[in-house]
């Protein structure tokens, strides 16, 4: 007993040193290679750092908010922002709807082989984005692609999916829905399992229709899950990059140039890094605002 007490008294100080020993590698790496660059990006966005700056940092001047004001005057930036919003605000809800639909199907008591279907639906999510983007580029081919072939059965004329500025973004959205709905689906399935069965039994006794049960029990009970799924889907979708890079190179007529693609081009193709850092920060602010709005909405409803 006495030794145990002595032992317990000894713990804190020793654990303290040990703790820092365990933490040091992770904190150092994340600090130096993540938090430090994020902070530096803020400073970078206030300079005219470019190719000359890379050659000699002495060529860099502090320009205040000039990058930001130039950004707001550049039509290409507004276009990229519009494209990104289009992708996130159409693709996001669509992905969530498909995920929820799939989760509801797989939660039905009437269905068996759930594990098999779940695995199949989840498979697109684990695949390599670049590889599937290339595959879909051929599926969307205006002459040889399967999409137009299938549509021709319905009398729909050939669509130049990736070559027409009106269709390129919808095509990318469709692929993104296919690629990522499985992830949200799994989270929804877990959320649905957590809803107590008694609620449905009580509703059934009251004679509530399936639609009514979904609207008054499932949806409200699922709302924390829904907020989480919405937040992570939107954060991910605002970072659209590889799909347009591989499938359209941001075209046609820049109709699929996203904010991150614009940042990549400005920063790593033209080396206007100060300007690109300003783009990155606008992206960060957009993501932050969207996240805060969603949490606020959730709080209001609760």
């Amino acid at each position: 007993m006495a030794t145990a007490t002595a032992g317990r008294l000894r713990i804190p100080s020793e654990a303290n040193t040990a703790a820092w020993f365990f933490l040091a590698p992770a904190l150092a790496l994340i600090g130096i290679f993540f938090f430090l660059p994020v902070a530096a990006a803020m400073l970078l966005s206030l300079t005219d750092f470019d190719l000359y700056g890379i050659a000699n940092p002495g060529n860099t001047r502090f320009v205040g908010f000039e990058n930001y004001s130039r950004l707001l005057r550049t039509p290409d930036f507004w276009l990229a922002l519009r494209n990104t919003f289009y992708f996130a605000f159409v693709g996001g809800p669509l992905t969530i709807a498909v995920s929820l639909g799939a989760a509801l199907l797989l939660s039905s008591k009437l269905v068996r082989f759930k594990g098999v279907f779940r695995t199949i639906y989840f498979t697109p999510f684990v695949t390599t984005l670049v590889a599937v983007a290339i595959v879909w580029r051929y599926l969307y081919h205006s002459r040889y692609g399967f999409f137009n072939y299938a549509l021709s059965y319905f009398g729909v004329g050939p669509i130049d999916w990736l070559g027409d500025p009106h269709w390129a973004m919808p095509a990318i959205i469709l692929m993104a829905v296919w690629k990522s709905f499985g992830y949200n689906m799994l989270i929804f399935i877990a959320g649905l399992q957590a809803i107590p069965e008694e609620l449905y039994d009580a509703a059934a006794i009251d004679g509530a229709s399936p639609f009514r049960r979904f609207w008054s029990i499932t949806l409200p009970m699922l709302s924390p899950t829904l907020v989480f799924v919405t937040v992570i889907t939107m954060i991910g979708y605002f970072q659209l990059f590889a799909e347009p890079y591989v499938m359209t190179q941001g075209g046609p007529l820049r109709s699929t140039t996203s904010v991150v693609l614009l940042m990549y081009e400005e920063g790593f193709r033209w080396w206007r890094m100060g300007y690109a850092a300003a783009i990155a920060f606008v992206l960060f602010i957009v993501i932050l605002l969207a996240t805060l709005v969603q949490f606020r909405l959730q709080k209001e409803r609760a």
């Binding site: 032992g7 317990r8 713990i11 303290n16 040990a18 703790a19 020993f21 365990f22 933490l23 590698p25 992770a26 790496l29 994340i30 993540f34 938090f35 660059p37 994020v38 530096a40 199907l105 009437l110 269905v111 199949i120 639906y121 989840f122 498979t123 697109p124 695949t127 390599t128 984005l129 670049v130 590889a131 599937v132 290339i134 595959v135 580029r137 051929y138 599926l139 081919h141 040889y144 692609g145 072939y149 296919w178 499985g182 799994l186 989270i187 877990a190 989480f228 970072q239 590889a242 591989v246 990549y264 890094m273 690109a276 850092a277 990155a280 920060f281 992206l283 960060f284 993501i287 932050l288």
Partner: protein, 287 residues
Amino acid sequence: MTAITSGERANSAGRRDRFIRALLYALLVIGAIMALLPMAWMVSASLMPAGEASSFPPRFFPTRVTFSHYVDLFTRLNLGRYLLNSAFVAFVVTLSSLVINSMAGYAFAKLRFRGRDRLFRALSTGLVLPVQVAMLPLFLLLKNLGMINTYWGVIIPGLASIFGIFLVRQYALAIPDEMLDAARVDGASEFRIFRSIVVPGIVPILATLAIWTFLATWNDFMWPLIVLSDESRYTLPVALANLAGEHVQDTELMMAGSVITVVPVMLVFLFLQRYYIQGVMAGSVKG
């Protein structure tokens, strides 16, 4: 009389259930076909003779199976090299992430030190920071360290991850304090406690972390694209995107390249999906 009615009612309910069940299965099967079709066509087209995947009407099955595109990729287009690059990068990142994140996750969960919770909260804010914000200065930093266009430039930002620490911490919280204290009373060092009590106790979450990290690193595109300029160091996704630009017309060749890129992650996922899915669930708990 009553018995008959209720029997009839049960019968009609049974019929309705059968109808709904058929409908549900129809939807599920259609969904499964749509989920698998692009992948199936990718595999099938990779086996077609050159030019066949670009014919009208589109073909789903090859007239004649050929492996010539795979041979081409490995002999003429250096794909073996890219495969090794990807494997090396993913392997190193996974291994280091296992060691470093599990140590930190354990410390946040079980060791008592000043400012622990505040530090953890500060670290968590990093989860909402888009990685792209860090990329420009990180590039300049690594350039000064001479790590641009090296494997290390790709590897270093992945060595530790906030998500990984989160994952381990969540799991390690369940380790009973009495067990650790008992070992301390017996005079075991903190490192020994970690190695022989903590690590065996968190093996399932380490499996999750390993698979999650491996797949994310294997699939990663933007950062390797930025860091690597020398073709011989390309990872598979970067090499594939590069090939797709040069060989737009060679549909079958590109499909073979996609198969080689996707198959390793598919295999890892199919065999270890239980652990992978656990990662999805653990991720959703943090919300």
